[in-house]
Amino acid sequence: MSLLYPLVLSSALFGIGLYGVLARRNAVLMLLGVELMLNAVNLNLVAFDAWFADQLHTGQVLTLFTITLAAAEIGLGLAIVLALFRAVRTVDVDEVGR
């Protein structure tokens, strides 16, 4: 398989995730955009691992680490969003910033 397909897909996913982080008003959906960007990175790591045929499986092990960190990030992020909701009764980032 050509290496370009996963790389171009990951670029597209990263751009869409960046748009989501910057454009969504709901704080939970901003976190979803971050997850999408992390997934684009995972795709890159796996693609380069498979291309390099790495003896240590560096890319795939690092992908597992990224998935774990993403799970930790979304857990902590959603806890912060819930605390924010309890404090100001909204998760709208425009309203909160005002």
Binding site: I16, V46, I67, T68
Partner: protein, 165 residues
């Protein structure tokens, strides 16, 4: 274009289309469910790139728990009435920046790696990944478990109601 590439292109179209729908949908729960489609398609791409263990971890962790957590959070923070617009006023700036990032990264990748091919010589089975993880990557693995523990304890502390002290 062989069969693997054809399947990959189909999965890539599904993944980017549902990602776009997830980031533009006005129904919040629909966004989370479109994200499930995206993550599933990316897991299929992992399988096609011979990373089958990573694909199953993706299905278990992302589709199984992260999206459930997000749907819980969406339902707990449901707003009664109020605003209807789901995007901020600077959505066009965001769209331009997203397109610039995607095109810039894609052009860099195409310029740097055109003509390279994935041969699939070393398949990422659970056995080989486990060998690599517990022979060569043990220290990062242990540090990561500490990070995960700290993050989860922090999440519990932050989300406690706070009226007991």
């Amino acid at each position: 274009m062989n069969l693997t590439e054809l399947v990959f292109v189909v999965l890539a179209v599904v993944a980017s289309g549902s990602a776009l729908l997830a980031m533009t949908s006005h129904q919040l729960v629909h966004s989370a469910l479109w994200l499930v489609v995206t993550l599933g398609a990316v897991a299929g791409c992992f399988v096609l790139m011979t990373a089958e263990f990573v694909a199953w971890v993706q299905v278990l962790v992302y589709v199984g728990s992260v999206v459930v957590l997000v749907i819980f959070a969406l339902m707990l923070t449901r707003q009664t009435g109020g605003t209807t617009a789901e995007v901020t006023g600077n959505r066009w700036t965001a769209a331009v920046l997203g397109v610039v990032a995607a095109v810039g990264l894609g052009a860099t990748m195409i310029a740097g790696f055109h003509g390279q091919r994935i041969e699939g010589r070393r398949i990422g089975t659970a056995g080989s990944i486990g060998d690599a993880l517990f022979n060569d990557w043990v220290l990062p693995f242990e540090i990561l478990s500490g990070v995960l523990l700290a993050a989860l304890v922090g999440a519990i502390v932050i989300s406690r109601s706070g009226d007991d002290h």
